[in-house]
């Protein structure tokens, strides 16, 4: 399985690594269609177009300067100082200052973050923490820490490669920022068509009305049959079960029984059409190299043994996101759990009663193993303590976290788009974001 993962990863990355021999042309309009709200936090496509982070992840997964030009760790990673880039302005003309950065990061941190305090020191911002944060530069590249400020009208203004130009007819229009610190984007304009169903997106692509459309993981096999050229990322969305550790499932043996009862192969083979990877690890194998140590095998008998003598009342399982593939997956998991002797009902999404089990997808942005574990665990509303920076320490921390059976990793799924013939050099960043500013239109002059 690991070998197949490596091979498929290599193929995908080879495809993504395809770069141009003829230099990119400037000009033209790139049309993108999406199902979701482009401003959705943290990683809606419009946010990455209009905002920058303090750092960014390059194509190899290394942390690179963005709005900060350099950084320094002090006091054994308890204190970090980031120096900001000069001559950068928000789109409304307000200069980027250390104060604006600190304010934006404090705002982003309202639901918790790794540092305890951020403050300004001349043209730099300083982060302090009671615990060491060796992976802070990698964490700051995440979409939730994109920098913005509120203008006098209350609108969010960023420093990104594109300006918001308007919303004519429900289409979001973005124009190239000539003064972007990273260089002017190649295309003049990006049109984002929000809330388009996959069917409508594919129809528009088939008649040449758009340049970039989404391809859900479960439809990756279908796309080439529809003559779509697909750009797929490495597996970076984790399908998982999140299990409440209170109420009916307070007993960890019951949670372990649920983890052992789920048949990942059925989800992988039938619903997701053999796309992605089966996993029992919260981090991708290609990132850590140790994912095989967590067995994804189903052990129904053992699940029965663990459950016996402790029959919980009826459990509820809800789906977050609610697309058809997720719904199907949830229904199949309900069957798996019933086979193990659990009484499970599907709960309506967003219902008033807290479900016992939630089927979710979490997107992994970070490519540093330690920061990635922090990111994934934090996305489940929990914390993990990693003692050391070597791979063995990360493994131990992950093993300890998974042993609580509050999270059951199921599948790693790729993110994919279909690309029109006239688009060139559109690639994914290592954090899974589309690098639209580096894309060009072939027939632009």
């Amino acid at each position: 399985m690991f070998r197949r993962f490596v091979i498929s990863g290599v193929l995908l990355w080879c495809a993504l690594g395809a770069s141009a021999r003829t230099r990119q042309h400037y000009g033209g309009t790139l049309r993108v269609e999406v199902q979701s709200d482009p401003w959705q936090e943290p990683d809606g496509i419009a946010r990455r177009l209009t905002m920058d982070g303090l750092t960014q992840i390059d194509s190899a997964g290394a942390v690179q300067p963005a709005l900060s030009v350099r950084w320094e760790s002090q006091n054994d990673d308890h204190r970090w100082q980031f120096w900001i880039r000069n001559n950068v302005q928000f789109h409304d003309g307000t200069p980027l200052t250390a104060d604006a950065l600190a304010a934006s990061l404090t705002q982003a941190c309202r639901y918790g973050c790794a540092w305890s305090k951020v403050y300004t020191l001349g043209q730099s911002v300083v982060f302090t923490s009671d615990l060491p944060i060796p992976d802070l530069p990698a964490q700051l590249a995440q979409a939730k820490f994109l920098i913005s400020h509120q203008d006098s009208q209350g609108a969010q203004q960023g420093t990104g490669p594109f300006f918001i130009a308007g919303f004519p007819g429900g289409v979001m229009l973005f124009t190239a920022n000539n003064d972007h610190w990273g260089g002017r984007p190649f295309v003049d304009t990006v049109e984002v068509w929000p809330r388009r169903s996959i069917r409508d997106q594919w129809m528009d692509m088939s008649v040449g009305r758009t340049d970039v459309v989404e391809v859900p993981a479960e439809m990756l096999r279908q796309a080439p049959q529809q003559h779509l050229t697909v750009l797929a990322s490495r597996p970076e969305n984790l399908l998982l079960l999140q299990i409440a550790s209170t109420g009916s499932l307070a007993n960890p043996q019951l949670r372990q029984a649920i983890a052992l009862a789920v048949d990942r192969s059925a989800l992988y083979n039938v619903i997701f059409q053999k796309q992605g990877e089966i996993t029992a690890s919260i981090l991708p194998g290609a990132l850590t190299g140790y994912a095989f140590l967590f067995s994804p095998e189903r052990h129904l008998n053992r699940a029965h043994e663990l459950r016996s003598g402790a029959t919980p009342p009826q459990l509820s399982l809800a789906v977050e996101g609610g697309n058809p593939a997720m719904q199907l997956s949830a229904e199949r998991i309900v069957l798996n759990l019933r086979e193990a002797g659990f009484q499970v009902q599907m709960a309506p999404a967003g219902g008033k009663i807290q479900p016992d089990i939630v089927l979710r997808q979490i997107h992994l942005e970070t490519t540093d193993p330690r920061a990635a574990l922090d990111e994934m665990v934090e996305a489940t509303g929990q914390r993990v303590s990693i003692n050391g920076s070597d791979m063995a320490s990360i493994y131990r921390a992950e093993k300890e976290f998974l042993a609580t059976y509050t999270v059951v990793p199921l599948l790693w799924l790729p993110q994919a788009y279909a690309i029109g013939d006239r688009v060139r050099d559109l690639r994914f960043a290592a954090d899974g974001s589309l690098l639209i500013a580096d894309a060009a239109i072939e027939d632009a002059k």
Partner: protein, 418 residues
């Protein structure tokens, strides 16, 4: 019957240079390989120590599986080393059932190799792991009229825009132009050592598809042309000084001896020349990516590859399209090889592909004719500039897929006659 003859001098020189280059390349690869092997022995010893700490002395059953890019042929050696090192800790490998089971998995991750040992005693499994260097991949390349040859000059992970070398008494100095800095290196004991580094200051943001060129200065050491910026380098054998200023001065296109320097204005926010020449000859050209000078029967002509994909030749104040250049990419450089007509135009390939090539052409009239096989490259051409003496060209190739990270290799490309 063939008449006996002397080996042609050029061929002998080629053979000697080729063998030297081969030896240098082999030594380079060999050295990296030796590092990996030495690291591997040490890491096997480390792993054995950790396993022994978990298992204690006694009989064990050892299995090794490979999930990494190591070849199957390497496994027996690793096993042999591991068994030897385990023995030194009193851990003896046996096939007997009931012994402690040790399962070693040779895995890898984004950073390199990861070797993991699972030690099972009864139902308890304990795990230890170590990181390992993986050996370098080797590359081969075939060559086929006039043969193009590339010799490796330099490589690094940061983008390279151009390089320049100069003789410093018995030693040599190399300047590497990067988007944000100029770095000088000196040759000592056969290896380049970093000498000085100068940040390139600029008021305006640089374009995304960054280009730049290093040229010998008039009365000073060098000029570095970047979009909207000119850096002037001065100094002596010991120390360099570099000063950069925002500048819209035109970039020199030709540095051919005995011809006036032709210049052109570069668009500071794009990846091409504006089409305005200095001197201007009273005509306006389409914007172009590159230009080069080739000798003609009645003097010289200039070639321009336009951003519209067309190649034109300016000769005797007239501009005519060049046929047969549809396969040309955005970069070109003329080299005076002495082969064929004496001068060939090197052009990168056109289109979008992960692998690029460079091919030599001659233009007898207004049609480009290929005179060499394409020189295959392990990546895409990001820069191709003629050298100061015009006998070869500096080629920068970006290799590495997105997941592996970019890598920039600098080559000197020359033409060999046979």
């Amino acid at each position: 019957m063939l008449r006996p003859r002397y080996n042609p001098r050029k061929q002998m020189i080629f053979v000697r240079r080729f063998l030297i280059a081969l030896a240098v390349a082999w030594l380079g690869v060999g050295s990296a390989h030796a590092d990996a092997v030495a690291d591997r022995e040490q890491r096997v010893a480390d792993l054995a120590k950790r396993i022994a700490a978990l298992s204690g002395p006694g009989l064990t059953k050892l299995t090794i599986r490979n999930l990494s890019s190591l070849s199957a042929e390497e496994l027996p050696d690793i096993r042999k080393m591991l068994e030897r090192d385990l023995r030194s800790y009193g851990v003896r490998v046996s096939d007997a059932d009931g012994a402690t089971a040790i399962r070693v998995t040779l895995s890898e991750n984004a950073a390199g190799g990861l070797w993991i040992a699972e030690v099972q005693e009864g139902t308890e499994v304990r795990v230890t792991m170590i990181s390992v260097l993986l050996g370098p991949a080797t590359h081969t390349q075939t060559e086929a009229g006039i043969t193009l040859r590339k010799s490796h000059v330099w490589e690094q992970t940061e983008p390279v825009l151009d390089t320049m070398t100069e003789q410093l008494g018995d030693s040599r100095r190399m300047l590497v132009l990067e988007p944000q800095r100029i770095v000088s290196y000196t040759m000592a004991a056969g290896t380049w050592s970093k000498e000085q580094e100068f940040a390139i200051t600029h008021g305006r943001p640089f374009p995304r598809d960054m280009r730049g060129r290093l040229l010998e200065g008039q009365g000073h050491l060098f000029d570095a042309y970047l979009p909207g910026v000119l850096c002037v380098g001065a100094g002596n054998d010991q120390l360099l000084s570099v000063s950069c200023t925002d500048s819209d001065d035109p970039w020199p296109l030709s540095v051919t001896p005995n011809t006036a320097t032709q210049k052109a204005f570069y668009n500071a926010t794009r990846n091409y020349f504006t089409g305005v020449l200095a001197p201007g000859f009273g005509m306006v050209l389409q914007p172009f990516y590159g230009s080069t000078v080739i000798p003609r029967a009645n003097g010289v002509a200039m070639l321009f590859n336009g951003i519209d994909g067309k190649v034109v030749m300016m000769e005797n104040n007239t501009v005519k399209a060049v046929a047969g250049a549809r396969d040309w990419g955005s970069d070109l450089a003329a080299i005076h090889s002495g082969c064929g007509s004496g001068t060939q135009v090197l052009a990168s390939g056109s289109g979008v592909a992960p692998m690029d090539s460079v091919r030599a052409y001659e233009i007898p009239g207004h049609e480009a004719e290929p005179v060499s096989a394409p020189l295959a490259l392990d990546g895409t051409v990001t820069a191709l500039w003629p050298s100061a003496d015009g006998t070869n060209a500096t080629l920068v190739v970006q290799s590495g897929t997105t997941g592996q990270g970019k890598h920039y290799e600098v080559y000197r490309v020359s033409a060999l006659c046979y």
